[in-house]
């Protein structure tokens, strides 16, 4: 509170000064010669791929890096971070510098009331009485605009919605009245409305005169908030400057790659990555409109307990095109996907695949038809048998489960599939666990393509990937659609991905499709209130 009362003078002494910070783990150097300052009322964004050293940098400001830290200067709120012992760091954490954690929805203990979880920080830091602690917790919850703070403080995190938990976490980070707030991928994996909420909260912190350090892999997320942007790659800052300068006139090639990877506003089939594949932005599927739809869902409904997860959902997917299904978490997108894939029997309604009855139908009667529809999941590793190598997974898919040995006549086809998804055929002998996130998703795509399906159902296929990797996977999906004419049902919470990938978009909330139209129409002239509110929450770069 002392901070809010201070005048908002422009040039105040920096709260954190870092020069030539290096962090190493054993003989691997995670962060090398990183320098920056954090000043009151300013926001710095550290942007880079996973593994670029952003999180390690942020953690070393809290004495939590876990590695060997060296620096010319590491000033944290007037103290020399290099000389601090662990107990002294405890006095800084949560008090002077606090952190909003990455895995936002998992960071609260499900067994304890939220209020007590938040109040814990006060127990460590001050000698407050029980009643005082309670009052301060309620106060912090009010500050983040959580409705019914008294009630919510008594509830456990599982009784709170995603948005409430997110607010509670921010309140937790604020309870010690920190001068510096670090948000480590605090918006990653959140749907656009929650993202907007977090960004708005961070903006308020900045306006209150705190220093904000934002860490993200997505330039669009930080574009609105950051005053300065530092782009990190392989432990080094490759470009550092005022936000407008970095975004509009990037100097480093890597910054340009990251900017190009942001999919919003990029027309269909225009590559997001600098892949060697030639760009072919012509609409191949122009004549598809008059043929029969590849997939048709009619009046799908499904209830769990008393709750309607999916409510009279109907859509058509013309062959060779992409239908984007967008909505917040819990809107019923995934249940819809599971019904379409025949994994869940709907209470009512039908799904037709290539004009034939697909669901509800007996499994034995639709087995052959199943080959016409494939699925890609958010977490490909979970959908692979852990005993199989990449090649065995593909051989298994090619042989309809009869053989997993690539040598049994499938070697060429396995290599072909791997090449189709731009993976090195030498990876066939590897276990998927040894592959990177992007490679795993490519492998999942290759496996889904093995039976040459007419339709792919993609449920959040790129949500777990960094923006730069996401760009290459989206480009791959574009290329495959152009080459094979496969139709996509593309499900995502990310509006910018949906905008780039879809011919038509269906907006879903509370189990219903509230608006369905061509992509340009949805994003240019939305009709439904909900669509409008979603779009206004979308972080935009262009």
């Amino acid at each position: 509170m002392s901070i809010e009362s201070q005048s908002s003078g422009q040039e105040r002494a920096p709260l954190i000064t870092v020069s030539n910070l290096s962090v190493s783990f054993g003989c691997t150097v995670a962060v090398q010669d990183v320098s920056f300052t954090l000043s009151p009322g300013r926001a710095l964004a550290l942007v880079g791929e996973s593994g670029s050293g952003k999180s390690v940098t942020a953690r070393s400001l809290l004495g939590l890096s876990g590695g060997t830290v060296t620096a010319d200067t590491l000033q944290v709120c007037g103290r020399d971070g290099l000389a601090l012992r662990d107990r002294q760091w405890q006095g800084i954490r949560g008090n002077a510098v606090s952190m909003i954690l990455q895995d936002a929805l998992m960071a609260l203990d499900p067994l304890r009331p939220v209020g007590r979880e938040i109040g814990d920080a006060l127990k460590v830091h001050g000698s407050y009485s029980r009643a005082e602690r309670r009052a301060r917790v309620i106060d912090a919850l009010k500050r983040v605009h959580l409705p019914d703070p008294e009630l919510r403080a008594r509830q456990r995190s599982t009784e709170l919605s995603g948005g409430m938990r997110q607010r509670a976490l921010i309140a937790q980070a604020l309870i010690g009245d920190p001068q510096v707030v670090i948000a480590d991928e605090a918006t990653t994996a959140l749907d656009s409305k929650l993202t907007a909420l977090v960004l708005q909260q961070l903006r308020q912190l900045k306006e209150q005169g705190r220093a904000v350090l934002m860490i993200s892999h997505d330039l669009a997320q930080v574009a609105n908030l950051a005053d300065e942007i530092a782009v990190m790659r392989r432990g080094k800052i490759v470009e550092h400057g005022p936000a407008a300068g970095v975004l509009e006139d990037p100097q480093h090639e890597y910054t340009r790659t990251l900017l190009r990877a942001v999919p919003s506003g990029v027309p269909r089939f225009v590559p997001l990555s600098a892949s060697p594949a030639p760009a072919a932005p012509t609409a191949v599927a122009a004549d598809a409109a008059d043929s029969a739809p590849a997939l048709r869902a009619q009046n799908l409904s499904m209830s769990f307990g008393g709750r309607r997860a999916v409510d009279s959902v109907s859509f058509e997917l013309p062959s060779g095109t992409t239908l984007g299904l967008v909505g917040e978490s819990g809107s019923g997108k995934t249940t819809t996907a599971r019904i379409v894939l025949g994994l869940q029997k709907p209470d009512s309604g039908q799904v037709q695949l290539l004009g034939q009855e697909f669901a509800p139908r007996k499994e034995s009667q639709r087995r052959e038809l199943r080959r016409a529809m494939g699925a890609i999941y958010q977490n490909p590793l979970g959908s692979f048998d852990p005993r199989y190598t990449a090649g065995q997974l593909l051989a298994d898919a090619l042989s309809k489960g009869k053989s997993k040995r690539a040598a049994g006549g499938y070697r060429d086809e396995v290599a072909q599939l791997l090449e189709q998804v731009e993976l090195d055929p030498a990876l066939a002998s590897r276990n998927p666990r040894e592959l990177s996130g992007g490679q795993r998703q490519r492998l999942a795509i290759a496996r889904a393509l093995a039976p040459q399906p007419a339709v792919l159902v993609l449920d959040e296929p790129v949500s777990a990937l960094d923006v730069s990797i996401q760009a290459t996977v989206l480009d791959l999906l574009d290329r495959i659609q152009q080459e094979t004419g496969t139709s996509y049902l593309f499900i995502s919470h990310d509006l910018s991905v949906i905008e780039h990938m879809s011919d038509r978009v269906a907006v879903m909330t509370r189990g219903r499709i509230v608006e369905q139209a061509d992509t340009a129409q949805i994003f240019g002239d939305p009709q439904h209130e909900y669509t409008k509110s979603l779009l206004s929450a979308m972080p935009r770069l262009r």
């Binding site: 894939l341 494939g374 699925a375 977490n379 979970g382 959908s383 048998d385 005993r387 309809k400 039976p451």
Partner: protein, 265 residues
């Protein structure tokens, strides 16, 4: 598992495999050759482990007994595990009512102490090597079956299985290619532990005269024979007993190490 303990484990397995399959390579004598003049010889130069009441060489008999003891232990575990895979998979895949019936039967069997169950089975079949295998196998099956069932039930709801469904795999292919192999992997360590246990039980049955009939050199039977002369020829019981301890402890140690490895994955 460190490199050294890996080598030791393999040496241990190789030694007992050789002993069981080709005992004549290790000791040239005849385990059944009687020489009354040499009865009750204490361990010494001529007979390392001493001789028994009929003058048979204990060392030769312990080595030749490995075949029977290990065979019963392995075969019984195989019977138990095989039965467990069938019952556990069936229960996990079956509709709720059938699952319930199988589970109640397994629980009823589980509630009877295994050795008693084995004795009960032998009471019906009569003694012998075959009945001993079946008795020990049947009495270990309920425990394994419950584990197989729970493993498969967990796997059944995994994304991996959904992916297989979407690829159009039928129930049989899913069970054969994904469910059973993945369910068995964490059970491997348990099976190794089970072999040691089964060797002990097989010996126990023979000790009670319900397994391998004398004069065949089976460890449990030898223990039993030695018991009569314990006060004047301790070596008759000690060495077969030691063999049982070494095999059971070895199997347990290897099982533990495998279990540790399974946990780290």
């Amino acid at each position: 598992m460190s490199r050294l303990s890996k080598i030791l484990a393999w040496l241990f397995i190789a030694f007992w495999a050789l002993t069981a399959l080709a005992p004549a390579l290790i000791t040239p004598g005849d385990p059944l050759a009687i020489n009354p003049a040499q009865a009750f010889q204490a361990p010494g130069a001529g007979h390392v482990f001493g001789t028994d009441e009929s003058g048979r060489d204990i060392y030769t008999r312990v080595i030749h007994g490995a075949g029977d003891s290990l065979f019963i232990g392995l075969a019984a575990t195989a019977v138990g595990m095989g039965l467990a895979i069938v019952l556990g998979t069936l229960a996990a895949m079956a509709p709720r009512w059938l699952d319930g019936i199988i589970l109640r039967v397994l629980e009823a069997l589980y509630s009877i102490p295994s050795l008693l169950l084995a004795l009960l089975i032998i009471a019906f079949t009569g003694p012998g090597v075959g009945p001993a295998i079946i008795a020990v196998g049947l009495s270990t099956a309920p425990g394994y079956a419950r584990l197989v069932r729970s493993q498969i039930r967990t796997l059944k709801n995994s994304e991996m299985l959904e992916a297989a469904t979407v690829l159009g795999r039928g129930t049989w292919l899913k069970v054969r290619n994904h469910l059973v192999p993945n369910a068995l992997k964490p059970l491997l360590a348990l099976v190794t532990l089970g072999v040691g246990q089964a060797v002990i039980w097989a010996a126990a049955l023979s000790f009670l005269g319900l397994g391998t009939p004398p004069p065949a050199p089976e460890w449990g039977a030898m223990l039993s024979a030695g018991r009569t002369y314990l006060h004047l020829a301790w070596w008759m019981s000690l060495f077969p007993g030691l063999a049982i301890v070494v095999v059971a402890a070895g199997a347990t140690l290897i099982g533990r190490a495998l279990g540790g490895k399974a946990r780290t994955i």
